[in-house]
Every structure is written in C-alpha cells, then in structure tokens.
C-alpha cells in the first residue's frame, strides 16, 4: 500500500517537474488606488499572459495604457501622466503618446509585431526599462489621472489614447502573434480605497 502511495506521489512530482501540468495563465496585475472615492492612480505590473508569453514589451505597454485610459474615461478623467520609481521605465516626462514612446525607447523598431522590436547596437536603442514587465510581478509604472491639463507636467490625452491607431496596431499584432482571444487581454484588478 505504502509503495502505491509513494508511486502516485512520485508520478505527480514527475508530471509537475516535466512541465506536462497545465500552467495557470498570469494576466497583468493592476492596482487601482482610490482616495475619497476618486482614482488616485493605477499601478501596473506583469505581462498579458506569461503562459503564452508571445507579446512584445511594446504590445504589452500598448494594452496596459489603453486599459488604463478606458478606466480613466469611465471615471471622468481626460488626461494622465506616467510616474515611475528607481527601477523605472525610463520614459521621459515629455513623452506623451505611444508613437513618441516607441521612437524614444526603441527608435529602430520596424513594426507592431513581436519580431519587429530589434535590439541593435545604436546608443539610441532600448533606452527604457520596459523589458522588465515580462515575467516579473512588480510595478513598473503608475498612471496618474487628471481632470484638466496641468501646467508643470506634460500629460497623455485619454481620448487620444483611445483613438490611437498606433496603439491599436500593437494590440492587433499581439492578438495575432500570441493567438490570443480578445477576452484574454484581461487584468487581475486589485482595489485600494482610502
């Protein structure tokens, strides 16, 4: 009897170790922080689905920014800015749209698909830390909403993000590259209320 139990346990361990067991998909984490009923910021971490893991960093970023813009619009905000920490994304404060982000972070990127983001040798290449978003479960940036433009900080426009064909191009390519379904582009949302 003991040998049977041991065999079953060993078999289970072998299945897990061999990678035959189905891995749970790990969508992006998104923490929405509200203060007195108003959204203070959205912090984002992770990649859209580490199981398939075919989305490029730029595809991930496009999906994240669009999702945040949708939430801001639902809550009546028209603008937002990107904050960062020491291990930050490296996006400068006056990069305020996806096209600018791509041309600053990956100036030699050739298109929307995962293979198009090349790692060349130019010193202008890969100035941002967006790579960390893949397979890491920590925050790489926060998006902070604003009702109006603010004088001292350039902002992204929510409406412009939602109508941005450049962002749509990355999302469409992510679906094609990773064979995702639209419904798989989801976030695990957590709410913090103060």
């Amino acid at each position: 009897m003991g040998k049977v139990v041991l065999s079953v346990i060993l078999a289970i361990i072998i299945i897990f170790m061999s990678g035959c067991g189905a891995k749970a998909p790990r969508p992006m984490n998104m923490v929405e922080t509200s203060i007195k009923g108003k959204i203070a910021n959205i912090a984002i971490a992770g990649t859209i689905n580490s199981d398939k893991d075919k989305a490029s960093v730029l595809q991930n970023t496009a999906i994240q920014i669009k999702e945040a813009a949708n939430i801001f619009k639902e809550n009546g905000y028209s603008y937002f800015w990107i904050s960062s920490n020491k291990k930050n994304n490296g996006i400068p404060l006056n990069i305020t749209d996806m096209k600018g982000l791509v041309s600053y972070c990956y100036p030699q990127s050739k298109g929307f698909h995962a293979d198009d983001t090349s790692a060349g040798s130019s010193s202008l290449e890969q100035k941002c830390n967006l790579e960390f978003m893949k397979n890491h479960n920590s925050t790489f940036y926060e998006l902070v909403p604003e009702e109006k433009p603010i004088l001292d900080k350039p902002t992204w426009s929510v409406d412009q993000v939602l109508a941005d064909e450049f962002i749509e191009g990355f999302i469409k390519a992510a679906i094609e590259d990773g064979k995702y379904e639209d419904k798989e582009l989801k976030f695990i949302k957590t709410y913090q209320k103060y």
Binding site: N85, P92, T96, Y104, N137, L151, Q192
Partner: protein
Amino acid sequence: MKKFLMFSALAIAAMANEVQVFTSNTMRIELDNDSKIEKLFFGKTKEFYEKQGEILKDLQKNSTSALAIGTIATLQASSGEIAKNIVAGGSGAGGVDTNGGLIAIGAMVAIAGGKALFDYAREDHEYMMMSKAINSKGEETLLYTLIVANNSLETQEGEEMALGEQKKLLKDK
C-alpha cells in the same frame, strides 16, 4: 483638432549625429505668432531634474496667472496625499503578499516623484529645454523639449535646436 496636437516626435540629422527631438505643450493651448516664449532652463536632463522643483517654485512666485498657480498647487497637494495614503496602506499589508508588494512599490513611486527620472535617465547626451509661453490671449503654458543625441552638443547648438522646435508650435492666426 490637429492644431491642438501637442506632441511632435521627429528624428533629424544634424551635424552628422543622430538626434531625436520631443516637444510638449503642457496646457495644450494654441500658440500664435504673437506668443512669447521665455527660456526657463536649458541643460542636461540630469541637471534639469535636479533643478525642476526650484524653477517651478520661482515660476509660481513670479506668475500673475491664477490658473498657473492653481494647477501647480493642485499637483503638489495631490502627490503628497497619494504618497501619504499609500505608505499607510503598504505598511498595513506588510509588503508580503503580491498586492502589498505592489502598493509598497507604489509608495516609492509617489514619493520619488519628479526625481525618479533623474535617477535612471541617461544623463549624457540628453538635453532638456523648459520654456514658458504666453499667447496673445494671455494664456500660459510650459514647453518642454527633450533632445537625444549620440554625441554631446555645444550649449548654443542645443539651445538653438530646442528653441527652433518650440517655435514650430507657433501657428499663423
């Protein structure tokens, strides 16, 4: 709508170097040919992030625009509030579980504020020009121009390039 498009990104060849220029207009106001542009800062981005707070404080002191004072004050107040509240939440969660960890890192983000980019920015060959612009209606905005170059630029060369980009935002009436 196009005339309100605040962002321009273009790569131009200058002095045989590869150069990128990014310009933004914070208040998204329309600037006409009668608008005045006053340089507040030009230098390396590292220096810019160190001095940004000081420049904004001076701007607030000297500004006659109620809007300008209001918007800067709003930002400072809300950032402070976010930092304070998130720190409280993060310590409560203990920073052990995933969400607690996220929040704790979030607190660092909020506290770091404007200095964050300075920590990571490649200080060499990145230059920032910050200017105040006032249009003929008396509306104020700030213009930020970031220049990214493979090689270092002379101050005058960089300043002229940045100002040239900012002047491109001026439209005929």
